[in-house]
């Protein structure tokens, strides 16, 4: 049996699922718990469980269930969260079981966002203390319960592996036998946390909880939820952003065997069938006339023209250090502009939502990074009070920021309102690519001066979408999007005069959102590319140039020194091969990366080697840190080599993996990750590789060819030998 309870296999009030109602999954979602800032409530043991806080429950048999506040989308957070809780709790780790949290901002809000969000690589940063406190509080209560029973000093008892023992008398009690007594003890507000040297789990490369079910096909993602009598739907949204349905001729579609219903909304048409094949064939057979609306002429060229114009104006000052005017007047001045394209997320699991909407209820099965937000938006779309909406979260077949949006649930609710019975709505890959919420286009304008081989002034202006202003409006203050300027206002180098500006520039019609690496993706790219250009102007080695300006950032400096050593920096390479470096202080981790690449005479770029050194503080699970870097680097390098969404006549031109290309195994070299031992609090890791890869690759190309590319994706034409002169 899987150790992760699949919500899709939990009986709900209204529907029992066809797929595997495995014995033992009988928990309700009512948790007798309190939020961190709420007054303490008496622990509730009505279901026979000890539940001292939101995260931990222990039953009389000793079964320990850990509720996961953050969602598992591949980043390994379920395992890391379980390790932290179980370590402080001194649980029997081999036997703990995990459970997805239900939507509840009060109980499961990410402390950094204030709502239930898994994003910004901050799960462990946000929950490190709360999880440790939760585990330690429960352990303290269990130890006290045993001490009371034995009438000994709690300090003379020790917890380990789900038991409390009293060494002096040789007595032992299992947690399951202590829960009733423990439940009567007040929850300690400030329990004593373990000394890190006493960690038994944290810091070890333990096996992931989710792997066993993912190697045998039994893992249940949102798209796998099955309900009895369920119908299947697939959709077509207006190909032009903001367009509306003008007319639908469904004569042919209705003759497709298995087609049951055609749902026409103002901007979406859905075909409902007995299975996805019927729905898909039915959709293909529809003749839809669209009213393209005002965006029918929008193209990438227009969007870039607008952005370039916007980026020439002064922005809002996000950070000012020293005297930029004075700094810019010193030494030799250099200018550059960098541009990044729209990107789709292309999670391997296409957008989907399984649901049943009735006049007075809405029940949803989905994999989302924002479970409470899905509940709120679904309630609005269904026209129901929020308590009438149930959301069962699942494992995610990739998130990358795409599942920080509730749009797929909203359109599914709008469709399902017109359909009787349970429904699975699945987007085709084409729909998924063409109706994403895209990584914005960005443009960065930089001016810097070099004086005595060092940077005297750095004027850096970011232009692009304010995603925060849409996504979490209260955070958008004073015209500054804190995501858009992330890793720019806190750039790591010792530069005496700095000015960081932000220009909010929203592209017309194209919706934009978070994409793995978020703001730092743009800022680390532009910063690290320009650093290489300045190093060359200064006649310095790129590693040495950076190193000389990292005295204020010893953790990053150490990572840079380590990666230089491990990557063979400075050792000879063949013609048209080069090494490029990038460093970043992003997401609370300090990472230096070297990419080695070769550019052939046609301008094609071949990866030869990738090496990263990372100081992420305490590595809760070091193997996950390595895996996230390996995968994140590939994610970023994929974008650098191939990623671009373009717009023509108001519509996205790419449609599937044939024209929105992904890096494949035959293009991926050895990737070495060196984890630096640290006793600092943990940093974030999930997005760091995505940010680290592109500038290091671009700088490798610069080293190999002398060509300073300033846009992504890589322009092979510019790199071909024939075009070099």
């Amino acid at each position: 049996m899987s150790r992760i309870e699949n919500i899709a296999r939990t009986p709900s009030r209204r529907v029992l699922l066809k797929a595997g109602l495995a014995a033992g999954f009988t928990l309700s979602f009512h948790l007798p718990v309190r939020a961190a800032n709420e007054p303490e409530q008496a622990p509730d043991t009505t279901d026979g469980k000890f539940a001292p806080n939101t995260f931990i429950r222990i039953d009389h048999a000793g079964k320990t269930t850990l509720v996961m506040p953050q969602v598992e989308m591949g980043q390994g957070v379920y395992t890391a969260v379980a390790m932290i809780l179980a370590d402080e709790l001194d649980a029997d780790y081999a036997k703990v079981e995990l459970k997805h949290a239900p939507p509840n901002d009060k109980l499961y809000a990410n402390p950094i966002f204030g709502i239930q969000v898994t994003g910004n690589s901050n799960s462990i940063r946000a929950f490190w203390k709360p999880l440790r406190q939760a585990g330690a509080a429960a352990r303290t209560m269990l130890v006290q319960a045993a001490a009371q029973q034995w009438q000994v000093d709690p300090a003379s008892c020790a917890a380990s592996n789900g038991t409390v023992s009293h060494a002096a008398s040789g007595r032992t009690l299992a947690y399951g036998d202590l829960i009733d007594a423990a439940a009567a003890i007040p929850v300690p507000q400030d329990p004593k946390l373990k000394d890190p040297k006493d960690f038994k789990l944290i810091g070890k490369p333990l096996k992931r909880f989710d792997t066993p079910s993912k190697v045998n096909g039994s893992a249940i993602y949102g798209i796998d939820a099955m309900l009895p009598g369920m119908k299947f739907a697939t959709i077509a949204a207006s190909p032009v952003f903001g367009g509306k349905v003008a007319k639908v001729d469904d004569k042919a579609a209705r003759t497709v065997p298995g087609v049951r219903q055609i749902v026409v909304l103002d901007d979406i048409v859905a075909v409902v069938g007995d299975h996805m094949w019927a729905a898909k064939k039915g959709l293909d057979a529809l003749n839809i006339t669209w009213n393209d609306g005002p965006n029918a002429k929008i193209s990438s060229a227009d969007i870039w023209e607008d952005l370039r114009a916007a980026s020439k104006k002064d922005g809002v000052v996000a950070k000012s250090v020293g005297d930029i005017a004075k700094g810019l007047a010193q030494g030799d001045r250099f200018d550059a502009e960098y541009e990044l394209p729209f990107l789709a997320h292309a999670t391997m699991e296409p957008m989907n939502c399984v649901l049943q909407v009735t006049p007075d209820s809405c029940e949803i099965w989905i994999g989302t990074q924002v479970v409470s937000r899905v509940q709120q938006y679904a309630a609005q779309a269904a026209g129901l009070p929020i308590e009438k909406v149930t959301v069962h979260n699942h494992l995610l077949g990739g998130g990358f920021g795409r599942r920080l949006e509730p749009d797929m649930a909203v359109s599914a609710v709008r469709i399902a309102k017109q359909v009787s019975g349970p429904l699975k709505v699945v987007w085709t890959r084409e729909e998924d690519i063409q109706h994403d919420i895209y990584r914005p286009v960005y443009r960065d304008v930089i001016a810097a001066t070099l004086s005595d081989g060092k940077i005297a002034a750095w004027k850096y202006r970011i232009s692009g979408s304010a995603i925060m202003a849409r996504w979490i409006p209260p955070v958008f203050q004073g015209g500054i999007d804190i995501d858009a300027v992330d890793s720019a206002v806190d750039m790591p180098y010792d530069i005496p005069n700095r000015l960081i500006e932000y220009v909010r520039a929203e592209p017309p019609a194209v919706p934009t959102g978070f994409w793995r690496g978020v703001g730092p993706n743009n800022n680390v790219f532009a910063t690290e590319c320009f650093m290489d250009e300045l190093a060359r102007k200064a006649g310095k080695d790129p590693v040495e140039f950076r190193r000389s300006m990292l005295n204020g950032n010893p953790r990053l400096k150490a990572a840079l020194e380590l990666v230089a050593e491990k990557s063979g920096w400075g050792q000879p390479l063949p013609a048209r091969a080069g090494r490029g470096v990038s460093v970043q202080p992003s997401f609370g981790s300090f990472i230096a990366t070297v990419v080695e690449a070769e550019v052939d005479e046609h301008g094609e770029v071949h990866l030869r080697n990738v090496t990263s050194a990372v100081d992420t503080g305490i590595a809760v699970n070091p193997d996950t840190i390595v895996a996230q870097l390996q995968g994140g680097l590939i994610f970023g390098l994929t974008a650098a080599l191939y990623g671009e969404i373009t717009i023509a006549n108001g519509r996205v031109q790419q449609s599937n993996f044939n024209d929105y290309r992904m890096l494949r195994i035959d293009e991926v070299p050895k990737i070495e990750v060196h984890v630096i031992k640290s006793s600092e609090d943990p940093g974030g890791i999930g997005e760091t590789g995505a940010t680290a890869g592109p500038p290091a690759l671009r700088n490798a190309i610069y080293a190999a060819t002398g060509i300073a590319l300033r846009r992504l994706p890589i322009d092979r034409k510019a790199l071909a030998v024939a075009n070099k002169a």
Binding site: K18, A19, G74, G76, K207, R208, D210, T211, P212, K214, V215, N216, G217, S218, A219, I220, Y221, I223, D224, M226, F232, P257, G258, D274, H275, M276, W277, K280, A346, T347, M348, E349, P350, L395, L396, G397, G398, G399, F400, V426, R429, D623, A627, Q628, Q630, G631, G632, I634, T638, N656, F657, N658, M662, R664, I665, D666, V668, K670, I671, G689
Partner: protein, 151 residues
């Protein structure tokens, strides 16, 4: 009605002959281990075995299968190569989100069944049709070598 031999069991169902095997497995038989990724045989998430050969089930009409044996991720552990691949995947912690991994494992199991000692070029050729968005390729390569007993 159509009858197929899937993972050694006979399954009878009602589906049009042109319906791709993927949707029969997922939507008709409820065998959701085989994944939908692209629908045009570009990503490999839907890979199954037909008489031991890896095939993209998203484009394979169910009427074209006949008596050939269908093996899916749910049944691959019964094969020697499949069991070795699954173990190596666990040992090396290959998986992240896992959505593509049914297909990766099916492609790798077919590779090992036909080429017990694959070199890097064999791995490239057999696995380049399977996209992983999480970027687990480095570990997939290692795990195939591990399963082949080379490491």
């Amino acid at each position: 009605m159509t009858t197929l031999r899937i993972n050694g069991e006979s399954k009878t169902f009602d589906a049009p002959d042109d319906m791709p095997l993927l949707w029969v497995l997922r939507d008709v038989l409820g065998m959701t281990g085989t994944k939908f990724g692209c629908g045009i045989a570009q990503c490999g998430a839907c890979t199954v075995h037909i008489d031991g050969n890896p095939v993209r089930s998203c484009l394979l009409p169910v009427g074209a299968i006949g008596n050939q044996a269908v093996t899916t991720i749910e049944g691959i552990s019964a094969t020697d190569a499949g069991a070795k691949v699954q173990k190596a995947w666990l040992d090396l912690e290959v998986i992240q989100c896992g959505y593509c991994q049914s297909g990766q494992i099916m492609s790798a199991a077919a590779l090992l069944a036909n080429t017990p000692r694959p070199d890097d070029a064999d791995i490239d050729a057999a696995m380049a049709g399977n996209i992983c968005r999480c970027g687990t390729y480095v570990r997939i390569r290692e795990a195939i070598k591990r399963a082949a007993g080379e490491v």
